[in-house]
Every structure is written in C-alpha cells, then in structure tokens.
C-alpha cells in the first residue's frame, strides 16, 4: 500500500467531486465538533484573590440553601422580577419560550444527528462508487444512498466506540465525589493521601482511556466502511473491521501516523486560513444578519403578544442566533468540510487498498545464499 498515492488520489477526489462538499458541509456542521481535540489551550487558572480560606459547606447548610432558594423562586413567581421590570405573566411566558427553545434544540439535535450519519454513509459510498466505476453521483443520489439502515448502524458503532469515554466520566464522577467526601469529612494526612491516590487513579484512567479512544477511533474508520460498503450488521462490522486492521496493522498504522501528521499541519494551516478569510466572514456575517432578521422579526412580533419592552427582542435573538452563526461562519465551515471529505476519502481508499491486498503469509527470513 502506498500512502502517498492514496493521499494524492483523495486530494484529486476532493477537488473533482463537488457533490461531496455538500455532505462535507453537513459533517462540518454536525460532526466536526465531536471529532476535534480536547479544546484545552493549556492556559492555567490563576485566581487573584485566593488568600481567603474557604469553608466546605456541610450537608445541612446545603439543605438550608436549597430551602432558601425554593422560597426565593416562589417569591419570584408570585411577584415577578420588579428589579428588571418583569411581571409574573411575562416570567411565565419567558419560561414557556425557554421550554420551546429547548424542545426546538432537542429536535434540531436529532435532525443533525440523522443528517450526520446519512452524510457519513453517503460520502463513504460515493467515494467507493467513484473508485469502482468512475461514476460521480449527484447530491440527490448521494442522499438516496446515504438514507439507509447503514446510517443507523454507523450511529450504533459510534456509540459503542464511545463507551470507554462514558465509563471514564463515570469513574471521574465517582472519584470526584469520593475526594469531596474525604475532604469534607476527614482532615489531616489521611485525606491528603486519599486525594493523592484518587488523583493518581483518575490520571491513569484518563491516560488509558485517551489511548483506547484513539485506537477505537482508528478502528471506527474500518468498522464504518465495512458496514457501509459490505452491508453487514453492527456485530459483523466490528468483527470484520477488527480482523482487517489486525491483518494489516502495519499499513493501517502508517496511514494513521501520516493522518495525524496531516492533522497537525492542517491545524497550523487552518489558523492562517481562518485569519485570511476574516474579511469574507465579515461579509457572510452581514448576509447572515439579513437572513436571520426575517424570521427574527416574525418571532419578535409573535413574542410581543406575551412580552413587552426588550424581552421579545432577546427571546427572538436567542432563537435565530444558530441560523446567523451557520451563515456567518460558512467560509470556515467550508474549510472544515474539505478537511472532513478529504479524511473520509483517505480512509475509504485505504480500506479499498487493504481489501485488494493479497493475504499475507507469515514472513520468513532467509539468509544470503552461500552463508
């Protein structure tokens, strides 16, 4: 397998198969965040005023605090918020609007998840089809081949791959609770030793789970492609994908190392590109503001029936803000879309190359003739 040839081919597909960009854009909007880095920029927290000794609240204090908070909420519902000039009726309306907003966001989240997995399936199958028959599918055809049971399987595979992360969160939550209890109830060296021990366990858990997640993330490329291109179920995809990677671990490992290097290079290049495209983003931001203003004004009119003053504007702004962001940051979304399509194409081509490779027999080393 020649990784450079695969990269060149993926580059060619990226620029010559524009229908993929649409799916890449959907992936950029729905999946890019979940496949990114940790987001830790390395900045350390530095409090200015930390000479004060804080007292850990005891459980009875917490109960008292909850009681007081409950009373305060009751009072707010009875009297409204006089300080902000919000009446009781407006407060109720605001809460309903907030509930509707949450509902809309949940529905949007489900729609985005569906769009993501349909697009993942479509990109994998479109690239495979292009390689096999040199046929370019249209966006409509892409949606048709993406809209299948396979996209559901891709979701399930992704869920299984993320199980270690979920377990880590549980471990960390339990560890955090234990640390808090130890610090609150016991003092002295015992608590310190316990906390140090738990920090060590959490460190180890994070370290191991990050490595496991990286390996599973790599395997996921093949699980997905087995499922999408061979049309098999989740269990069979996991089994075949794992077997495929195990048999070709050198080729897969090399491709993975190369892709990590390209990811680093892309991170550096994208900083420059993001800065260079700021003027374009400024233009799309104006466009986004104009487009979002139409539904925004309609919502302001609707909310004015229940709210007064500046409240309808704020509520409508919260609703149309996602639309504004999508349009405003479209140029940056397109950059991420290209990255998504390129990466997906590389892994699809790698999968095809590996499948085409003959089964390797155990290599025997032969000494030079005449020795």
């Amino acid at each position: 397998m020649d990784p450079v040839k695969i990269l060149k081919r993926a580059w060619h597909i990226l620029w010559n198969y524009r229908a993929l960009w649409v799916f890449g854009l959907i992936l950029a909007l729905t999946a890019a965040g979940s496949s990114g880095g940790s987001g830790n920029n390395g900045a350390r927290f530095n409090a200015e005023n930390n000479n004060q000794q804080y007292q850990v609240p005891l459980p009875e204090d917490i109960r008292e605090a909850f009681r007081e908070a409950g009373k305060a909420i009751e009072k707010v519902f009875e009297e409204g918020l006089p300080a902000l000039d919000i009446s009781q009726g407006e407060l109720t309306a605001l809460l309903w609007i907030a509930a509707i907003f949450v509902l809309v966001m949940v529905v949007l989240g489900v729609v985005m998840a569906i769009a993501r997995y349909v697009s993942e399936t479509a990109v994998i199958r479109m690239v495979d089809e292009y390689e096999a028959t040199d046929t370019k599918l249209s966006v409509r055809q892409g949606f048709r081949i993406g809209w299948s049971r396979t996209s559901w399987r891709l979701f399930l595979i992704n869920l299984i791959v993320h199980i270690p992360v979920i377990l880590l969160l549980v471990v960390m939550g339990v560890a955090g609770l234990v640390i808090y209890r130890m610090a609150a109830s016991q003092g002295g060296n015992f608590a310190v030793a316990g906390i140090v021990g738990i920090i060590g366990v959490v460190f180890l858990a994070i370290f191991v789970v990050v490595i496991v997640s990286i390996v599973l993330g790599l395997l996921r490329h093949f699980f997905w492609r087995v499922s999408a291109l061979e049309g098999v179920g989740v269990g069979e995809s996991l089994r075949r994908g794992f077997a495929l990677v195990r048999e070709n671990w050198k080729n897969v490992g090399l491709m993975w190392l190369v892709m990590i290097g390209l990811g680093i290079a892309w991170a550096l290049v994208s900083i420059v590109l993001f800065i260079l495209t700021v003027p374009i983003v400024a233009v799309t931001a104006i466009l986004g503001a104009l487009v979002a203003a139409i539904p925004g004004l309609l919502l302001v009119g609707l909310f004015s029936l229940f709210l007064s003053g500046y409240l309808p504007w704020i509520a409508a702004g919260v609703f149309v803000l996602p639309l504004f962001f999508v349009i405003a940051f479209l140029p940056w979304g397109l950059l991420t879309a290209w990255q998504q399509v390129f990466a997906s194409s590389v892994w699809t081509l790698t999968y095809r190359e590996i499948k085409a490779l003959p089964v390797q027999l155990p290599e025997t080393e032969i000494g030079p003739v005449g020795d």
Partner: protein, 209 residues
C-alpha cells in the same frame, strides 16, 4: 451421410453416452469411415498417454517451498540496524504518548488547582498546589529598584505572568508538533526519493536471486 458426430466422439469414448444418443453414434460409426478413423485416432492417443510414465509432480508443500526459494530475499539485517528501524517507527508514537501524558497532567493540575482555589478540597492539598498566585519575581524586583513604575510595571508583570503560566504549555505543544512534522517530512522525502516508507523496511532493498 454428411452429419458427422465429431462433437460426440469424446463423450462416446469416455462412456458417457446412453440410450438413443449412443445408438445414433454407433449407427453413424458403422456407416461413416471418416468418423471411425477419428475414433481410432483418439483411442490410439489415449492408449499412448496411458502407457507413458507419469511426470514427477512435486507435492504442494514442495512446490510452495521451491517458489519461496525463488522469491526476492530479505537480507538478514544487523541488530543495530533493526533497532534503528524500530526506533524510527516508534518515534512518532512516542511523541503522541508524550503529548497525551503532558496534556493529562496539565488537565489534572488545572482541575485540582481550581477545585482547591474555590475551596472544594477544604485546603487539604495546599502542600501539593501552590496557593499563592504565580509570582512576578523579575518585574517585582525591577519595580523595587525603581526601574519600572506605573503602567510599564503593570505590563511587565502581566508579561511575566503570561510567560510563566501560558507560554510553557504552548511551547511544549508546538515543539511536539514540530518534531512530529519533521519526522513526517523525512518519511515523505524517503518515500518520494527512494520508494521506501513502509514500516520496518527502511534501508533494506529486496534483492532478486
């Protein structure tokens, strides 16, 4: 009779014809000199082949071994060369592990510092986490000597605090990234120039016997 039965002669000689087809062939052979000669010719060939000694076909295992002997050989590499190769491929993996280790350390350190500073740990880890803000020693000293005052002292303090806190993680992350990119650039160059680049094959060109 013009309809010869040449296409059926093979099956006839192998005893695969039955019923009407067999009778048709036999009747035709009684009448047709040409087909009879063809049958005799094929029978003679079959007899000759059966009489000939069988060629000495090797067993599948032997054939595989002989083919393996003719395949390009991988020369035995010295131990030092092998170690170098393994090291070359482990270098990027090591960089990734170092990056994960340092990031995890930083994350844990930040979480412990924040939880301690907001008082959730009841001050039990003050021995481990510095309670005081990051010092601005150099700018402070310059200020004491009156070399920096007012806004310039404030700027110097902020710069020093930034250098001490934010800069180190950025530096080590950029360093790891640059080392990784260097490894990749070398790999790419080797691949392009020499056609190498597969894991554990560096420097060993196959030789055909």
């Amino acid at each position: 009779m013009s309809d010869h039965i040449l296409e059926l002669i093979g099956a006839y000689l192998d005893g695969e014809l039955h019923g009407g087809q067999l009778r048709q062939v036999e009747t035709h052979l009684d009448e047709c000199q040409s087909c009879r000669e063809e049958v005799q010719s094929l029978q003679a060939l079959s007899t000759a082949l059966q009489a000939a000694p069988l060629p000495d076909f090797p067993t599948p295992e032997r054939l595989a071994a002989e083919v393996a002997l003719r395949l390009p050989r991988t020369p035995v590499k010295p131990m030092s060369r092998r170690a170098l190769e393994v090291g070359w491929w482990l270098a990027p993996v090591g960089l990734i592990l170092v990056w994960i280790f340092l990031s995890t350390t930083l994350l844990i350190g930040n979480v412990v510092t924040i939880t301690n500073q907001i008082g959730l740990l009841n001050g039990t880890v003050t021995q481990l986490v510095p309670d005081a803000p990051i010092g601005t020693y150099w700018s402070g000293t310059l200020g004491q000597f009156g070399l920096l005052t007012g806004a310039s002292l404030q700027w110097a303090g902020m710069t020093e605090a930034f250098t001490r806190t934010t800069l180190p993680p950025i530096i080590w992350q950029v360093s790891i990234a640059l080392l990784y990119l260097s490894w990749m650039a070398i790999w790419w160059a080797r691949h392009t120039l020499q056609g190498l680049g597969q894991p554990f094959d560096s420097g060993s060109r196959p030789t055909v016997n």
